[in-house]
Subunit: 304 residues, 2 copies
């Protein structure tokens, strides 16, 4: 990976983390009108600042920059995507869902703040994502339709025909007979939708051409499913310390995954095929696509 | 109450329920791209169709009509408000929150669908509320800024400085020493914010005058807190069958409420004072305010 890539990634990441945490400052008082209550702010910040690769918001900023848009204008949308991702992790970890104790090497949100406050922290992050995207849209009245389209795209991909649909089918498919149609649905919606959202939101924000929208969608959907298969492989072969969570959980929960259904070798082949397709899609952008090309290169070799 | 009021209320209610359930049709298939999964749709519909007074969306439509706006254009915002209210009830009833088995005379969502699916049904309703408000905004490009302002207002009132803030402080105040500042904060945010939201959203959608916005906000905030105090009184004096839920739960949970802190008589006096203020605020609209005036009259005498 090039120095230019590493540096650019780091700059994006820092801007995102600063923006995100800046919107939920630490609160010195328990409660005050117009401020986030101290405990709620702390619980939200706890999960937001747990690290992670910030893959989704970085994709959004990089795509906006590739399309000649304003990173400043896009920053709240990028932060919102990470907040939506984070809320889904908090709720996923709850008893009744995956019931996990550890996430990114730290106790899960409900282990620290209790189940009730963790539910609220998740709800709060999801709602705040929209609150801040809408406030940002109102700062650019001349682009109100672009913003509406971008935010709507994020809502659809995160929603009841997108990520939440994938979570629902994932949850109800535990310990079921293997079924490839079901598995593909889960991967496409539980994971790929929220990785495609930043690419499409960036495209709408920049009023991109149709061929650009199509290429970005193909890139996102293939990266998304490949990312999930790699995740499932890491749950079998990965290093628990590096991953910051227990491995072998999918088998224990009876999750429907590529390696569980087709074996590790076949899952690796499938992932490699999808990464190839993603590379082909981004090639259409020529030299402008340098960041997304390197992004796919690096992510396809990740160990955590 | 006049026949005109009863009839108008019924018309609003029917349009809202039709619109809301029309957006989440019953699904014949378990899962299919672009459709809400069958189980998720069923869980969302279960709680949405549990009845209830539909107070929030009715307030929105009535205010839009009072201000000369289009009920058709406002309908998705009204439905979204009821969806946000319903998600908050599903999550409130979960173990770790209020842990309730009964809501509106029926088993709570998680008792029927399990905790995991109930969490997702709640998340789904919240996200879908935004998805459909945004889609609606895009249908009226000439009013995109009005819609953005209305949706943002709903997001703020429902969010981490609004309803969720109130829920957070409510939850952490169980079994605490009585504290009026804390109690007022809880009532104002847990309940009054989401009852003020429809009035303000209607005002922004119709580009109302400043005096109208101020009068509607005063009306909403007073109705909201009075509504919560009446709720707390009904939990002590109300009829469990009529209410469709167990009474005496607040005392059992150690909730901080007006009657618990100041006694039933004082709570009744406080509620009456707030209803008076609400009536004064709506008087500013003269004859145009007939529906909201009757609304306050009827609601202040409710037995469930």
């Amino acid at each position: 990976m090039s120095d230019r890539y590493t540096l650019t990634y780091e700059v994006y990441k820092q801007r995102i983390e600063q923006a995100m945490l800046g919107m939920i400052p630490e609160e010195p008082e328990v409660f005050r009108d117009g401020r986030v209550p101290q405990l709620l702010a702390e619980a939200m910040r706890y999960s937001l600042s747990a690290g992670g690769k910030r893959v989704r918001p970085v994709l959004l900023l990089a795509t906006v920059e590739m399309l000649g848009g304003s990173v400043e204008e896009a920053l709240p949308l990028a932060s919102a995507l990470e907040m939506i991702h984070t809320y889904s992790l908090i709720h996923d970890d709850l008893p009744g869902m995956d019931d996990d104790d550890l996430r990114r090497g730290r106790p899960t949100n409900h282990k620290v703040y209790g189940v009730g406050q963790a539910i609220l922290a998740g709800d709060g992050l999801l709602n705040a994502a929209y609150e801040w995207m809408l406030a940002n849209a109102l700062r650019y009245p001349e682009h109100s339709l672009r913003h509406l389209r971008a935010i709507r795209e994020i809502a659809v991909r995160a929603g009841v025909t997108g990520m939440i649909a994938g979570q629902c089918i994932d949850l109800m498919s535990e310990n079921m007979e293997p079924d490839f149609e079901r598995l593909r649905y889960i991967d496409r919606h539980k994971t790929a939708d929220l990785l495609t959202a930043p690419l499409m939101a960036a495209a709408f924000l920049c009023a991109a051409d149709d061929w650009q929208i199509r290429a970005l969608e193909t890139f996102g959907e293939n990266v998304g499913v490949a990312f999930q298969i790699d995740d499932d492989l890491l749950d079998i072969e990965g290093d628990a310390v590096l991953l910051g969570k227990a491995t072998g959980m999918d088998a224990k929960m009876g999750k429907m995954t590529w390696p569980a259904m087709a074996g590790v070798q076949e899952a690796r082949r499938e992932s490699a095929k999808l990464w190839d397709r993603a590379r082909d899609a981004i090639a259409e952008f020529g030299p402008d696509g340098w960041f997304l090309r390197e992004f796919a290169e690096v992510l396809s070799r990740r160990k955590f």
